[in-house]
């Protein structure tokens, strides 16, 4: 494996980690506030469809992004109404939304475009274009550092940089602002937050809606950045990998970055090689695909560090009468 191959694999790692990272941070906000979200997949999928559909009809990728975020937020709102207002089971709501997204996107796609559940392929204006960082071409010939800068770091779409910028931003919001402190508190002990005169319902709704925005960007990136259009079930379990990454990261932003990069790397290697030789043993590609899930189970089992979820996660808050 030469240097160029490594750069290429790392480059696709960054691309593949981007949707995971956005969805993972979405889950982070939601679950830190005490609302479990197994509907990350659903929100990404509707966002992917509506961003591609709007970008295809209007030719504007920014309108597409807006539509994707709006669709994802609509799903987030349903999740909020079901699990916060009506105190329904958050997991069941997530399951329902996953089906709804999977069925609805194909249904509408067939009705609008009549192409067997996909949107028309997006032209240049309908996609996010790669951005060249300053001096990327100038330093490309510098050995080692040149390719790292011009190939690996430069030449991604704006959403990739947004996703990576979200990591410090999320950390700052959660751990350095009043809103973040309250958000974390409401996920650990909503009763205490309520006693302090702060609305549990409003805090949880804002967390769920933030998750909607982030999943919307993730879905739009899938359809208009990574691919050129929507195809049926194109999220392909990424919402669940993001969920796995969230647990792997123990609900912390910087760890989430690491986990998503690791899972992105596994995906990139799996895409490139059918099977790889490791210490003389051929590892099948299916094992690489299953590895994120296996690692998550190991982490959850507490054999390698312990993942402790927010204490009030999954429970609706009932005000004392």
């Amino acid at each position: 494996m030469d240097f160029n191959t490594i750069i290429q694999i790392l480059d696709s790692t960054i691309r593949l980690a981007t949707p995971l990272l956005l969805a993972c941070l979405a889950g982070l906000f939601s679950e830190r506030s005490g609302v479990f979200d197994i509907g990350l997949e659903a929100k990404m999928l509707v966002a992917a469809f509506f961003s591609a559909a709007v970008a295809a009809t209007t030719g504007s990728v920014l309108l597409g992004l807006g539509a994707g975020i709006a669709a994802s937020m609509a799903f987030a709102l349903i999740h909020g109404i079901a699990s916060i207002t009506f105190r329904g089971d958050q997991l069941i709501s997530g399951v329902a939304l996953n089906f709804l997204a999977s069925g609805m996107t194909v249904l509408i796609a067939r009705d609008w475009f009549n192409q067997g559940g996909r949107t028309p392929a997006l032209m240049d204006g309908g996609r996010f274009q790669p951005i060249d960082l300053p001096f990327a071409t100038a330093v490309a010939d510098v050995p080692v550092l040149g390719p790292i800068y011009s190939e690996l770091l430069s030449g991604h779409t704006i959403l990739v940089y947004v996703a990576f910028a979200m990591v410090p931003l999320t950390w700052y919001i959660l751990f350095r602002t009043r809103f973040g402190l309250r958000l974390r508190a409401v996920g650990e002990n909503p009763g205490a937050v309520d006693t302090a005169g702060i609305s549990v319902v409003r805090l949880r709704y804002s967390a769920v809606m933030i998750a909607g925005v982030l999943c919307g960007i993730a879905g739009a990136y899938l359809a208009t950045g990574l691919a050129a259009g929507f195809v049926k079930d194109m999220t392909a379990g990424r919402g669940f990998i993001a969920l796995a990454a969230l647990i792997f990261a123990k609900w912390r932003p910087w760890y989430a970055l690491g986990a998503c990069l690791l899972f992105g790397l596994l995906d990139a290697i799996g895409n490139r090689y059918q099977s790889i030789e490791l210490l003389g043993v051929a590892v099948p590609g299916q094992f690489m695909q299953a590895l994120p899930y296996i690692l998550t189970v190991v982490i959850l089992a507490g054999f390698v560090g312990k993942a402790i979820p927010p204490r009030a996660g999954g429970e609706a808050y009932v005000k004392e009468r």
């Binding site: 197994i38 349903i78 109404i81 079901a82 699990s83 009506f86 105190r87 329904g88 089971d89 958050q90 997991l91 069941i92 709501s93 399951v95 329902a96 939304l97 996953n98 089906f99 709804l100 999977s102 069925g103 609805m104 194909v106 249904l107 509408i108 067939r110 009705d111 559940g117 379990g237 669940f240 969920l243 796995a244 647990i247 099948p284 299916q286 094992f287 695909q289 299953a290 899930y293 296996i294 998550t296 189970v297 959850l300 089992a301 507490g302 979820p309």
Partner: protein, 368 residues
């Protein structure tokens, strides 16, 4: 919340279902079809002929098993979302049994296939159960992960060890001695004409499973312990019930039931192991258990309803421009309204009973 039992068991699920169907009707309207006509086509396609009935009950058999699997776990307040993976492993178990010997007759093969499906399904549920009971890992997350691991495992086995010669990633065809008699043969023996369909004797197996689950939950000590644990963990511990034992046993039963689905789907229909033998039935089980209020009779009714929905949806695609995915939307809305938005209906209904009815709490004991 005090409601008469009939309102809790019949009225509320019915309102939930009607709400789900109403919203589905709006969706059909949105894509430019007549909802009433669509409904007619679906009902006619599902139960209007022996062909329709055959497919409806064939799907229903799958959903009975996965629905019972979710329902049993619900009684211990465990949410087993891993029916999909457990059924996949069950399929592996059934296939290994069927391929192991040149079975002379299906009556010999069936008991062993049942055993294979149940044991493999239970084994796949055992690890998440153990991790929940001993290490406190959330069972919903681990079972989701195990669904993905199971699917990767099957894909791997079908391109390596179990792959039959040829292009398709599937196992060899099972020997003829394992083929289960289908409805056409059975009805033909008594001189009744029944169209060709994959409905087979596993349907009867499903009915037996419903009865056995009822027996287990309401007529045995173990069933009592499972329900007691589900109602209140501290009370169950105080009564000397071991949470570890109940979690393990409940999940093993649940996994075994999910695995049994493969007897119908793999031995009964496909007659070979495929990459995806479950096709979402594990998830439909969640909807079925929710609608059936986790009672075997409710599960049976809900399973037939969903079987009809699946078969009717196929007919709908055939006759109109409404694609098959409509079924997924209806299924999602049913889960949403009966599961997550239950309180939306329950609140007003309870209010109405308090206002207009006789005091319900005074005469009837509140249901769960």
């Amino acid at each position: 919340m005090t409601l008469p039992k009939w309102a809790d068991v019949v009225l509320i699920p019915l309102i939930n279902l009607l709400l789900a169907l109403f919203v589905s009707g709006l969706v059909v309207l949105m894509i430019g079809e007549d909802p009433i006509n669509a409904m007619k086509i679906m009902v006619n396609g599902a139960v209007g002929s022996t062909y329709g009935w055959g497919y409806t009950l064939f799907y229903a058999t799958n959903f009975i098993f996965t629905g019972l699997a979710v329902a049993v776990a619900f009684h211990a307040r465990l949410f087993n979302i891993g029916g999909e993976g457990q059924a996949q492993l069950g399929a592996l178990g059934v296939a290994l049994v069927c391929l192991a010997l040149p079975w002379p007759h299906w009556t010999l093969a069936l008991p062993f296939a049942i055993l294979g499906g149940a044991v493999f399904g239970a084994a796949w549920a055992a690890i998440p159960a153990y991790l929940q009971a001993r290490r406190g890992s959330h069972i919903v997350i681990t079972t989701i992960m195990f669904n993905f691991i199971a699917s990767a495992l099957l894909v791997y086995l079908l391109v390596s060890a179990l792959k039959a010669p040829g292009m398709a990633p599937e196992s060899a065809r099972f020997p003829e001695g394992t083929f289960l008699p289908n409805a056409r043969d059975v009805f033909g023996m008594i001189g009744v004409k029944f169209a060709r369909s994959p409905l087979n004797v596993s349907f009867l197996l499903g009915l037996v499973a419903c009865f056995l689950v009822w027996l287990l939950l309401w007529r045995t000590r173990l069933g009592y312990e499972i329900r007691a644990y589900g109602h209140s963990e501290p009370a169950a511990i105080y009564a000397g019930i071991s949470p570890f034992r109940i979690t393990m046993i409940t999940m093993l039963i649940s996994g075994a039931l999910a695995g049994l689905m493969a007897v119908n789907a793999v031995q009964g229909e496909a007659q070979r192991l495929l990459q995806d033998n479950v096709l979402g039935a594990g998830f439909v089980g969640i909807a079925v258990a929710l609608m059936g209020r986790s009672h075997p009779v409710g599960v049976l009714i809900a399973a037939v309803l969903f079987g009809a929905l699946y078969q009717g949806g196929a007919e709908l695609e055939f006759e109109t421009s409404v694609p098959r995915e409509m079924v997924l939307v209806i299924q999602a809305l049913v889960i949403l309204f009966t599961g997550a938005l239950d309180n939306m209906v329950r609140g007003p209904v309870t209010g109405a009973f308090l206002r207009f009815g006789r005091r319900p709490g005074a005469t009837t004991k509140a249901a769960e």
